[in-house]
Symmetry: C2
Subunit: 333 residues, 2 copies
């Protein structure tokens, strides 16, 4: 069995997904769509920097690609917010294709945007296709993983997840996204305009609460700059003391006034350790650590690609990682 | 919503499941069945050592309990092997009840006993109920957890899971099951008669391979005694140097002649560390460690109880942890 994938959106994440689909057994590229004039008309092999062409050229128009395709499923990597992908989803559903999307807000939209989540669910059901939003975070490291680990507990009092990353090894868009190299004042302004932020902590908190059956009073999501105390540098950027090295972001879910779900991210140049850790307080309490962390770039694409086979066979409608069968790498055999 | 549970089998594991169902919100005991004359006729609260009665007396006959019940689901904890529970499953299915069982061979029976697995699946489908075998191991620590972690990978070359336990804090039947206190010769004879063994490594190896889509040449499952080098003791047992402190067991799955899935268990009195660790070689490679381990007794019951809500809503047929939605603790709200 080979799963034929239409790629919509070829930014850094979309390129990562495309690369795996080209390289991994069990998957092949059926079509590729992006609005960037720099890549429209070019072969996807060329875009990936491969010696050989793949035989698929990037198209400009989604509707055109959908009108004449041989795809089984769409990998949608165009935006972070639900409104930004709403009309794209409508078009894709109309063409009868299921969707795996790296859209962060789609990973668990029921909390932030119940109305639009309901509409997307209805559209997908009417079209008879499944849609799911996923990636490494949200979608895996700070929601699926703690949820799965909780299955060994007879009681959970609280959950804390730490995702700590030395950003110097990440791609440049990621380094910019976390504000590395900015002055603190610029960071604050960009954060206020939502130009600097990790999207998804609210969704992950809400997914964990839903899995546990906890009703939360509220979810907070707060971003602070990590100020460099000494000079730090990546291959792309140099940061002086007093400038921003990256961000610290906390998503917290409160229940009866108590912070019961705490998702803590640090992503900055020069972080001394990179790791993911899940701490469950309860019976039993458990501390689980992924040494060296779950690498964001490969893993976001991997989680999305590994979810493609799930979306093909899932019942029609809007799914989340919480209600799909356990995720897994797949050899493509 | 309260899930009403009929408990069938009240050995140590069945008692652990019963205790959680009595104590946890969202669950209640509907009936209890066991053949042990010591407990037949007694209130389950008394058996658990509680001050108060629960109002449910242990019945001797499964058929009698099934003929007149108000249960939603059965927790079946009577045996480790498929043949030992086959006729019990037939009776339970006939009464229209779904089943969560801690029967180790049921956790992934497709490899060892495809014929009986197929028959159980057919019986369950005909009865319109779901059945699943689970627990901490098999069912969670050495199969579900590595499978879920693999979802962050674009390529997996091999998986190693280590489950290392200091057995001195475990219950006495567990200490006996691992051969603690025996002479090496007695251990070997009991191991040959299958009286000493952890049941489930083969099932866990087969489940991982199925999730990945790997065809294995063969699965080996080998038990060795861990010989005490100095005196060790638990509250129940003393072990002299030269005697057996516990067992070391390895389940290995081979693909194209290479050991690609290695499940390594050590359970002995005086093990210096207790932990679970999953090591994936691939892209990315990842090392994940549960510090202090996933405690066997609480967690086996917890995984089973946390699976009860899944079995209620799963489609009819034989399921495994691999195809159910991600497992989770549930607050019972």
């Amino acid at each position: 069995m080979t799963i034929r994938v239409m790629h919509v959106g070829l930014g850094p994440i979309g390129i990562g997904v495309l690369k795996q689909v080209v390289e991994r057994p069990g998957f092949e590229v059926a079509a590729a769509v992006d609005i960037d004039p720099e890549i429209v008309g070019r072969d996807v092999g060329e875009i990936l920097g491969f010696d050989d062409k793949v035989g698929i050229e990037v198209q400009r128009e989604l509707e055109g690609a959908l009108a004449d395709h041989e795809a089984d499923v769409v990998a949608l990597c165009t935006g972070s917010t639900l409104p930004s992908i709403h009309s794209q989803l409508e078009s894709i559903f109309r063409a009868g294709l299921p969707v795996v999307s790296t859209t962060e807000e789609l990973s668990f939209p029921h909390f932030s945007n119940e109305a639009l989540a309901g509409e997307i669910d209805k559209l997908a059901r009417n079209a008879g296709v499944a849609v799911v939003g996923t990636g490494v975070n949200p979608g895996f490291a700070m929601d699926t993983l703690p949820i799965v680990l909780s299955a060994a507990c007879e009681r959970v009092d609280s959950v804390t997840v730490d995702r700590i990353q030395d950003a110097s090894v990440r791609r440049i868009p990621f380094q910019k996204k976390i504000g590395a190299g900015l002055d603190p004042e610029d960071f604050r302004q960009k954060a206020d305009r939502l130009e600097i932020r990790h999207v998804g902590l609210t969704e992950s908190v809400a997914m964990i609460a839903a899995a546990f059956g906890w009703k939360l009073d509220r979810i907070t999501d707060v971003i602070e700059p990590k100020i460099a105390e000494e000079p730090v540098a990546s291959s792309y950027l140099s940061v002086e003391p007093g400038q921003v090295a990256g961000l610290i972001q906390d998503g917290v879910g409160y229940r009866d006034g108590e912070p019961v779900i705490r998702l803590h991210m640090e992503a900055y140049l020069g972080a001394p350790q990179t790791y993911d850790a899940v701490s469950i307080e309860g019976s039993p309490s458990m501390y689980t650590k992924v040494e060296a962390g779950i690498p964001g770039d490969i893993a976001t694409a991997a989680v999305a690609v590994n979810t493609l086979p799930r979306a093909l066979v899932a019942p029609p409608g809007l799914h989340t990682m919480r209600d799909l069968p356990i995720p897994s790498w797949w050899a493509g055999a």
